[in-house]
Amino acid sequence: MAAALAGTALLTGCGGSSGSGGAKAELSVHSAYIPQPVSDSMAAGFLTIENKGGTADKLTSVTSADAGEVTVHRTVGGAMREADSLTVPAHGRLVLESGGDHLMFDKLEHRLRQGRTVTVELHFARSGGLKVEMPVKAATYNPEHGH
């Protein structure tokens, strides 16, 4: 599990918005899904976190009763690396998508089948916890095409 590190709330990341304006982060999640995995113990998950607020937040960890471990991964140069935290920029979004950053579910209780739903809780440095229902879609589900 990613540690809730980083005492400072200094914004780095690519978005570049400096968090002036609104008082705090206002987060919402959409486009969440998990492609039906091949593995019986491991899966990837994708979602988009919108921030309508004027302050950035950081996704610091993710938990789920269905998985022994959930980590946030960044994909860099064909390899996945565990990320300590990912920034949700002010008036921006954090996109976890296939081929890029994603959630990684490890030590699954059982193989995830299409049609099931997995409940995860996203933990943020400022906004606390946010519960999200992630539907398990077809292995080849493509959010751009909707099938």
Binding site: S39, R74, T75, V76, D101, A139
Partner: protein, 216 residues
């Protein structure tokens, strides 16, 4: 028919770059390098200088010696380098191909060879590979063996992989290739590449051409 042909050099640049991880916005789906004036989205990249099929002799999922050139000679062949502990791109790529293959007539399906070469041979034993591929398509061929051999084979296709290594938390990090290479049954040369954003529809549309060695 309109074909996009790029020089191998320009292609390699595009193919070996992966998405940068600055996870913002929708535009990360766009290609990293634009190498053609043709703006219509097309998954296939046709090479004007095809790759020679790598001279790989590895072990298949039954634990038997598998000579890639010998076993796939004269057959349309798709080759992908990945690993089974990969949650996202590797299973998606193989599943996309598996769904598209189902649409081929049986004779062409039987003729086609789909080869998954592991980039993580220490974890991907023949048995592990076999178990994983069976969930996708039991006809697909899984190869494992000496990492240096696999890496050298991948390199001849412009695919760069590194050995599995531990990250700072002690977790194993492996690498996958960023493209599927299609080899022609006519020439046995690798003449078309698919990036990791190629969809089921792309493969479904192109495989009937690929199995004949024609340009998609």
């Amino acid at each position: 028919m309109r074909n996009k042909t790029f020089t191998a050099a320009a292609l390699l640049v595009a193919a070996t770059m992966t998405l940068s991880a600055c996870g913002s916005g929708d535009d990360s789906k766009k290609p990293v390098a634009v190498v053609s004036e043709d703006t219509s989205r097309k998954a296939a990249t046709v090479l004007d200088k095809p790759f020679e099929k790598p001279d790989l002799v590895l072990t298949d999922t039954h634990g038997k010696k598998y000579d890639l050139r010998k076993e796939t000679a004269g057959h349309p062949t798709l080759v992908y380098f990945g690993y089974t502990h990969c949650p996202d791109v590797c299973p998606l790529t193989m599943n996309n191909i598996a769904v598209a293959v189902k649409d081929l007539p049986k004779a062409e399906r039987d003729d086609l060879r789909v080869v998954f070469v592991t980039t993580d041979p220490a974890r991907d034993t023949p048995a592990e590979l076999g178990k994983w591929l069976k969930m996708i398509n039991s006809e697909f061929i899984g190869l494992t063996g000496d990492f240096a051999t696999i890496q050298a084979g991948a390199r001849t296709l412009g695919i760069s992989i590194e050995p599995t290594a531990k990250d700072k938390n002690g977790k194993l990090v492996s690498y996958h290739g960023t493209q599927v290479v299609a080899f022609s049954p006519k020439t046995d040369a690798g003449y078309v590449l698919y990036g990791e954003d190629a969809t089921v529809d792309d493969y479904t549309k192109d495989l009937p051409e690929i199995v004949k060695g024609e340009t998609p």
